[in-house]
Subunit: 143 residues, 4 copies
């Protein structure tokens, strides 16, 4: 029964997150994330191999994604692999594998090129680690 199911990604968003706000007050964000590796092949040519991942974030990460993540941003995401099935129009069972994030950190510079020290305020935490994992004596919400 013991199990570990962990995914660690550092990549760039292929597009802005799509965020849906559910009736129960929760939100869910979806976006694709590209992780690229570069190497030289036998011919000595530089080759880039890009892998795309389907990311799913739930409250409170979904709201943070909505506010701070944009197409092109580089993020660290830790989560778990989940595969769900559905029936397509031909009646075939199909499977989609997604990474459900549980920790997220926006990497690199200012989220959208804004300078620091703006009155925005939210900017101040955009590079902080955010998660839905409580620390001792802490409030894990970034603001």
């Amino acid at each position: 029964m013991a199990g570990v199911n962990k995914v660690i990604l550092v990549g760039n968003l292929g597009k802005d997150p799509e965020v849906r706000h559910l009736d129960n007050g929760r939100a869910v964000a979806n976006f694709s994330l590209a992780t690229s590796e570069t190497y030289k092949n036998k011919q000595g040519e530089r080759v880039t191999n890009t892998e795309w991942h389907n990311i799913v974030l739930w409250t409170p990460l979904a709201e943070i994604a909505e506010k701070f993540l944009k197409k092109g941003n580089q993020v660290y995401i830790e989560g778990k692999l989940t595969t769900r099935s559905w029936d397509d129009q031909d009646g075939n069972k199909r499977y989609t594998t997604e990474v459900v994030g549980r920790e997220m950190t926006l990497l690199g510079g200012r989220p959208d090129g804004s300078s620091s020290g703006t009155g925005n305020g939210g900017d101040n935490m955009a590079e902080s680690p955010v998660s839905n994992i409580p620390e001792d004596d802490t409030d894990d919400l970034p603001f």
Copy 2:
């Protein structure tokens, strides 16, 4: 372009690995791995949620899997996520996500209940970490 694409799993094999030996001398092993988590739901009932992962191992991990891994065995696998596409009989594009392992450790007791000290020899390393990552001054092959 920087990227990290890492998966860490501890789970149990759903069945024996299927190993194909290719014409080019390489081998590839496939098997499904279950990772389970148990929790209590709101009604206080214990619930087990199992996720199945498609594992792919190439030489030399494939041969090690062939020799030492059996249905039910618990293993640690580190690898990367890859999604490949193919066309089904209805002409639809379909996708399969797999974990391509790059490091593997057989966990727990003797692989199949055999006692230690058999003449088999190979048994002695079945719980050693195996990988295709060279260490300094080392031979990464387990035997």
Copy 3:
């Protein structure tokens, strides 16, 4: 300011955990964990390199360690690196680096070779993943 500080270990306890119950109701467990890697050196000799880690677990993982972990057990531990300083008898500043666990899974067979189905009861969950990270709609305590 963004940061990730993650340690993932699979190893064996060098001795039984030492558990202290604090006045504030919390408990803390300490033990050393060995992670070994085996390789062949240039002379073709098998060499084992063992690294020892100082593990610290707080409530509720400390109580779980107290009940289920014993010298020799193999565990998966995920946590973070922390270094604390203290002054030795010569007035020198000294540093100790520890891994503060936040998720733990007992690996392999029965904790101490006991068969399943004992009246102990607690035994039943000893191989379940345990953590202090809440899941949705779940009770993360193992019992």
Copy 4:
């Protein structure tokens, strides 16, 4: 004997790497890396907790660090924990724990603010993942 000893860090360099080139042709780089987490304490005040890690990189990562890493840069580092002992001037045994990197990715923007598209060339790969782990059919050196 099975073991996993893995550290994953995303942090910022506290100072430029110190690189020594050894007589045997190998190089070793040392620097400290800060990983910070921010949270709100019980008083609702934002608190930042910074942990410092001793990083050690060997050839070829050492040379890459020498060329591309500078104080303040944000990097992803994957490696293993090692503790080595030494005797201090008072004859006491002392221990230092370090993270020996095996994979590294420079995060965020241009390494030192240089614009892209320079003739430098090396710039082009500074954000690529670098490691001493061979891929199939690849040259793992970044240039």
